[in-house]
Symmetry: D2
Subunit: 249 residues, 4 copies
């Protein structure tokens, strides 16, 4: 079988250079274009790119996607800034008959995607659920986007199962030790030198607890998910969000 | 709605007395018979038991089940010793038209069942998988039955996904620190005062790890699963093994 | 050697009844008096008690101690409510020549005492330190007293080593996910059905983390420390606070 | 104050190049010599090196140390292969009046040193102790040297406190799930893609457990300990083994 012809946009960036390496090393993909800020997008079509991987910037991602859609190139998008509004714009570009797939992936780490899914499944069977996320101290936001998203999924699963509020007799917490409440799920954020990106989702009921923990040490952890996206996109026409459907979850 | 009429066999045992308490306390179940070794099984039919919960002994469980099937009583079985051979015997008793449900449950802890299921799902996405189970020091077997079962499920999931052997460069391990190999999955057993029953399933791939941990502190952790079984058995004609199908997994 | 003659005050309480059991079972201690709210303290002197264990109530503990000091009875105090002011009152009762020991113990769990001590030692070697404490959901205060005390010890050890502030680039935390700040140490409190009392102290520096975790499952965990206090108090004239000095820390 | 003049032997190696970076960056140390296999040791004396850091090979370390002792240069040794015999040879070179310090460090990670020390302190207070070490799958030995050393320290501390054997009712363990026994302490070794170097020491007694965990993600974790050694060696004449004495433990 011919290898998939891949172009990486933002090839010199942190994620981009990892993607260049991963696509180059995999047996079934071939790196045929590296596009940086100063390069014309025409490099993609001239190189016969089948799948473009966008790892650029919120300012440029929509222009890049417009070009891909216009030139019949599938796109895997790891850039942030593609929200609800942007998604419907992309859908309108694709129209109904399109053969093009656009796969927007908020998190390429397969472990993180599984952890979130498992949390959603478990949520309905436990009285209590809380999240502790831990990251390097250079992170500006607390809690992490992944933790907030996980909290919302847990909250919705509990509501669907008609669970009542979680038990919590706290009457005195002058300093806010109980952390953030995201849709009724308490979320705690640790910031610490030596850490990278970690999340622990804790569930408890009478006499037992269940913990789903994900540790991400390295940008390389995103590459198996990125390659999975590159391989599967031809079978996913239209807009897809997240790796979940590709994992059969 | 009328509460479900429940009889507990082995009512004075450790699990049995917990079941008596739990069935008595739940709003939708009613405890109408407590049967111990010296009591006649006729107590079940005389009390109009709809669901019998067997928490007795491998020596008596099959006789108890024969009585239940004969008298049209659903049975939830927490007793060990119901293997492949016993299951097919029960199936032959039930015949094809039976309205009776027999639900054999190796583990009532919902958290443990979920942990095992999550491990099975995750197995195919990671290069490495190992299990560390930790129990109180009065346990005679190592590894635990749950750990061995989890190892086999992981091994089968890896085989189905055509994963190769796990990476392991160990060439010197004179004392056996790498632990047991159950179907190619390394399993480690910790025995320690202060612990009850715990299991950690670890998965690793390039740059990330995923951990599914279950902690069981108390026999009470089995009661939510036991009540779930009592409530669902009417919808499960024939023989069912494990809580998984009841959890929609 | 003669066993130590012990009286338990608050013998019917939760901790008290555990103490009655533990003192009764140990080979080198003898339970000679059980005093409850309605009993006269004279029961202690009449029974020839050498060491009184006070597990009563903040309202009664100072009267009990006055009686013990007056009657030459050593006292081990597990009751809360003995603060700085009370301690100096006790010291004034004892005077300079006293042969009596009063040992006030905020936490009898040896593991908790060690965890706190280890945290104090480690604090000066790491850029970052945070605490995650987890308890059953019936707890009214957040964070736990132990967590607050540990945070203060870490903060003091950092100041003594002239460490600067911990690195933390958080600029956006609208819901308070970063938790409580106790003397500059972030403290997070989890409340969850199924848990008892747990604390994790995390330290991080370039490329490594150190974690000290204590899990307390049961009131029985306080008994080894309580017996240690009973055995050692004869060698500790005057007022002592905490088990640390008895552990040689 | 003048910065300490440092020479690195094995400057091109993995640890060596990290040391070159760390010594160069610290305000109170100055890198004045980088010595590799092909360079003469005279480069050390010619550059006026005060402290040599040996990160070479078991074959060359003793020759390097002989040169340092002869030329009045303090030596910090991270190279393996300096055992009991080598240590007494070095002591004989130094003689009694020497002003030279030789500091042999099996592990520069301060967190690992603390974890080991804490384990030694805790050992006497708990009925049970076990070790789970986890490493990347390219490691040839199981268990790790650190785990074996920690096990021996725990075993000696238990013997000194006259503790009996740990409770363990295991009668059936056909596959060796209970792991290695190093001096009566069970040690378990996990090997997994995505991990680096991790160790968990578990202690348990009635109703409570204490866990000391060390995670090492990166060679950089050795640099704070290496710089500490460089700074303190002038105050440590003669031969010292390990960072413990420098940490005041």
């Amino acid at each position: 079988m011919e290898p998939i012809r891949v172009g990486v946009l933002g090839a010199r960036g942190k994620m981009g250079s990892e993607a260049v390496r991963a696509v180059g090393e995999a047996a079934d993909t071939e790196l045929v274009a590296e596009i940086n800020r100063e390069d014309s997008l025409r490099g993609l079509s001239e190189a016969g790119v089948q799948v473009a991987v966008d790892l650029t910037h919120p300012d440029s991602v929509m222009d890049n996607l417009a070009f891909c859609v216009e030139h019949g190139i599938h796109a895997v998008v790891g850039t942030s800034g593609v929200g609800t509004e942007e998604l419907s714009r992309i859908r309108s570009w694709l129209g109904e008959q399109s053969e093009i797939g656009v796969l927007v992936v908020p998190n390429f780490a397969i472990g993180a995607v599984l952890a979130m899914k498992f949390s959603e499944i478990a949520a309905r069977y436990f009285d209590s659920a809380e999240i502790v996320e831990s990251h390097h101290p250079r992170k500006a936001d607390a809690p992490s986007g992944t933790a907030a998203r996980t909290a919302r999924m847990i909250s919705q699963a509990r509501a669907a199962a008609e669970l009542g509020p979680m038990p919590d007799a706290t009457t005195r917490d002058p300093e806010g030790a109980r952390g953030a409440e995201i849709d009724d799920v308490h979320v705690h954020a640790v910031r610490m030198t030596g850490l990278v990106a970690h999340q622990e989702v804790l569930f408890g009921t009478e006499g037992e607890t269940l913990t789903v923990r994900h540790d991400s040490y390295d940008r390389r952890s995103f590459m198996p998910g990125l390659l999975l996206a590159v391989r599967e996109i031809e079978r996913r026409k239209g807009v897809t969000v997240g790796l979940d459907p590709l994992l059969g979850l």
